[in-house]
């Protein structure tokens, strides 16, 4: 029987976002085909993985991943240098978790200082994340954006409840933004529209439709991402064309599967490998659903996903 490879005709294209400073700036997005289908489109950039670090010791991380950064994790500068120099990170995601009112409630000024210290110690791109407290992030990320002026960072996450101040700060200091909504394609679209209506260029935007860990709602994230990508490419929906971010580490490293010991869960096997696999598989699923930028924690999980990426492009 005569056979023709069935190709999809896409009208749209994912926007290309470049962050960081030369010579180590990084580009994501730019593809005009569904994930990794190069037989029917162009995929100019590989997905990028950023190593997550925090501005206070990661006491709440399970040992499996915490131990990887023993000796450096009490100092974000050393931690960042370790990721850059030894782990060859392409980018770093600094989470200002200490600013959360339930943690140390540190001030925006403290956060700004941490940002400056980290930026002067590395030469790879920096993603600056708040503590996910909507009210507090509104001031913390503004101070962080100012402190990082000139570094072309990604600032996040702007949410429905706080995007106005964050977007204004990113505009003033020339940063990119991660816009996050909660697992709903319409909310993602609406937030992108609200942000661009403030005069923020959509080419500086990254969408985070909210990640979820393997076994804890991964299927929702997976399908929302696929739908966002289909809207961007097939319907040429300009509001859905920013690249997608997957904040994998923070959702994975709090669930039971990555912390229950072998004696607690004898049927689950080695805790060490279980945790690594959990983060790697969650990230791999996000990649094939359309994620362009992953934020991850465990070096071995990152290494595994890098191998997958190498085979995918």
């Amino acid at each position: 029987m005569a056979y023709a490879v069935p190709k999809e005709a896409y009208n749209g294209k994912v926007l290309n976002v470049k962050f960081g400073k030369a010579p180590n700036a990084v580009s994501i997005g730019g593809e005009n085909a569904m994930p990794f289908l190069s037989f029917e489109g162009e995929i100019p950039n590989k997905p990028v993985i950023a190593f997550e670090i925090q501005d206070m010791p990661p006491d709440d991380w399970p040992d499996t991943v915490k131990n990887q950064f023993a000796g450096v994790s009490s100092d974000p500068v050393k931690w960042a240098q370790r990721c850059q120099n030894e782990l060859k990170a392409q980018a770093i995601a600094l989470r200002l978790i200490s600013t959360h009112p339930d943690r140390e409630n540190r001030s925006p000024q403290d956060a700004a200082k941490t940002v400056k210290d980290v930026l002067s110690a590395i030469n790879i791109p920096l993603i600056i994340l708040g503590s996910n407290n909507v009210e507090k992030d509104a001031s913390v990320l503004v101070a962080a954006a100012e402190a990082a002026g000139g570094y072309n960072c990604i600032i996040g996450k702007a949410q429905e409840g706080n995007y106005k101040t964050i977007v204004a700060a990113a505009l003033a200091h020339n940063h990119k933004i991660i816009a996050m909504s909660e697992l709903d394609i319409n909310l993602a679209k609406q937030l992108n529209i609200l942000i661009t209506q403030m005069g923020f260029n959509k080419e500086n935007l990254i969408t985070d439709p909210m990640c979820s860990a393997l076994g804890y709602g991964l299927e929702y994230t997976y399908s929302v991402m696929e739908r966002i990508r289909l809207a961007a490419l097939l319907q040429n929906d300009a509001t859905m064309q920013p690249p997608i971010a997957g904040d994998v580490g923070m959702y994975v490293w709090k669930i039971k599967e990555v912390s229950a010991s072998e004696s607690e869960a004898p049927l689950w096997g080695s805790l060490e490998e279980r945790g690594i696999a959990w983060e790697a598989l969650t990230a791999a699923a996000m990649l094939i659903a359309g994620t362009n930028l992953l934020i991850m924690r465990h070096p071995k999980a990152v290494e595994t996903v890098q191998k997958v990426i190498k085979e995918l492009v």
Partner: protein, 447 residues
């Protein structure tokens, strides 16, 4: 390709005899077009029409069983490209590949490991579904012995005979024909002989080709030789080949109704690095493989792969649920705190996990809300004060514990007043909004 009602009508006897249970042939035709009735209901339809209609109404991807007996798994039968379009139906079978030149003890150990791989997760029993036995010894007697040994050590597990040498394959198939092994496989060089063996022993046959297009002539040939249950290996090895080949195959079958590619797909995701192999296998599972073969299993790896498969194959319209009841977490006494949540399995697992983390023994009342999360159930009117009050009264928890204090999720704090009115004598406490606040919350209450 699907036929319209009118096209089907033209092939019917047009006598309106009503034997099918429909008033007219046209009514029957319309129902057939929607797939709502079986062709066999019309006793008078000609053989010729039956053939045309049978082909046209066959599902775009053939469905059949891998293995025999209770643990046989259904493969194929998918109808959509994206799970949100409807759902994925028949979860990808996971198979362990074993070489026949290992020692008997090693073979047995591996087979037993597969046989004992079952884990329960969110109420489903999940396991490694099949063993692929690779003909590496180049000795047909050894192969047959290895196959027999594995078959008896893993008595319910499906078998894949990974052997392209017809004489060795034939002996092995005969030895375990009652297990309905999948014969892997037919190539350009051996297709006729392999088809003969598969047909004579009534087992499914996998074709192996280099590339998607090369599969077509093979499946057509095998089918013309009388084998219907076919599996396809396009030779995809890398993550990229897996995604691209499998996408092309599924699109051809679903969008074009292209029959020569309308069969389940098998992918070999073999790698030395076990974690990497797991990641690669998950790519195959998400992207349309019906069988994925891996080279090593371990408990942690199985758990991760089973969970991924479960996520990808859940019905996007019908969330996974847990049973409505009062669950014990730790060893609660009649003094221990009582919390309430909904029966969405994700909610239940997160909340029960956090209560467990708190190390405070507790009672967790899980209410049937058709598998919706707390806020969704509330918004849908299923987690209301009246319904919660009724559930608490009917649950018998009042006889189990001696206090009357109920902790509700922080997200539905708004319910607390109305609940106190409806549940006489009860005190309602609003818990944290996020379950991860539960350990601190519970510990501070008992301190």
């Amino acid at each position: 390709m699907a036929l319209s009602g009118v096209e089907i009508f033209k092939l019917l006897p047009k006598t309106n005899c009503k034997k099918c249970g429909f008033p007219t042939c046209l009514a029957f035709a319309m129902k057939l077009a929607q797939g709502g009735v079986d062709l066999e209901k019309c006793p008078d339809i000609s053989e010729e029409s039956k053939k045309v209609l049978g082909e046209a109404s066959a599902p775009p991807i053939r469905t059949f069983a891998l293995g025999a007996g209770e643990k046989a798994v259904k493969i194929g039968g998918e109808t959509v490209m994206f799970r949100h379009d409807k759902k994925f139906f028949n979860p990808c079978a996971i198979a362990l590949n074993i070489k026949d030149n290992l020692s008997d003890a090693e073979l047995k150990k591996a087979a037993v490991e597969v046989a004992n791989s079952e884990i329960e997760r969110i109420g489903q029993k999940l396991r490694i579904d099949a063993i692929s036995i690779e003909y590496a010894s180049n000795d047909s007697a050894r192969y047959e012995a290895a196959v027999k040994l594995i078959a008896s050590a893993a008595p319910d597990t499906a078998i894949i005979l990974n052997c392209k040498e017809p004489s060795a394959a034939e002996k092995a198939v005969k030895a375990v024909a009652d297990r309905k092994p999948l014969l892997y496989g037919a190539t350009n060089d051996n297709a006729e002989t392999m088809a003969g063996i598969a047909k004579a022993n009534k087992v499914p046959l996998s074709v192996c080709a280099q590339g998607v297009e090369a599969l077509i002539s093979l499946t057509e040939k095998i089918k013309s030789l009388g084998v219907e249950d076919i599996v396809m290996d396009s030779g995809a090895k890398t993550a990229k080949e897996i995604i691209e080949h499998n996408t092309q195959i599924r699109r051809s079958a679903l969008r074009k109704g292209f029959k020569p590619l309308g069969y389940p797909v098998i992918n070999f995701a073999l790698r030395d690095d076990s974690t990497f192999e797991a990641a690669l296998a998950s790519v195959a599972i998400a992207k349309y493989a019906s069988i994925v073969v891996i080279s090593s299993i371990a408990k942690w790896k199985n758990l991760a792969l089973f969970t991924l498969r479960q996520n990808i194959y859940t019905d996007p319209q019908v969330p996974m649920q847990v049973e409505q009841k009062i669950y014990k977490i730790g060893e609660p006494t009649d003094d221990s705190p009582l919390l309430i949540t909904t029966n969405f399995s994700l909610t239940y697992f997160i909340v029960s996990g956090e209560v467990e983390n708190s190390k405070v023994p507790s009672w967790l009342a899980v209410m049937d809300c058709e598998g919706l999360s707390v806020l969704t159930a509330w918004a849908a009117g299923k987690f209301t004060s009246a319904k919660i009050a009724q559930f608490i009264k009917d649950s018998g928890v009042e006889g189990q514990i001696k206090h009357k204090n109920l902790i509700i999720p922080g997200q539905v704090a708004i319910l607390s007043g109305a609940l106190e009115e409806k549940l006489e004598g009860w005190k309602i406490t609003v818990g944290p909004r996020e379950a991860n606040g539960l350990p601190t919350f519970l510990k501070s209450r008992t301190a």
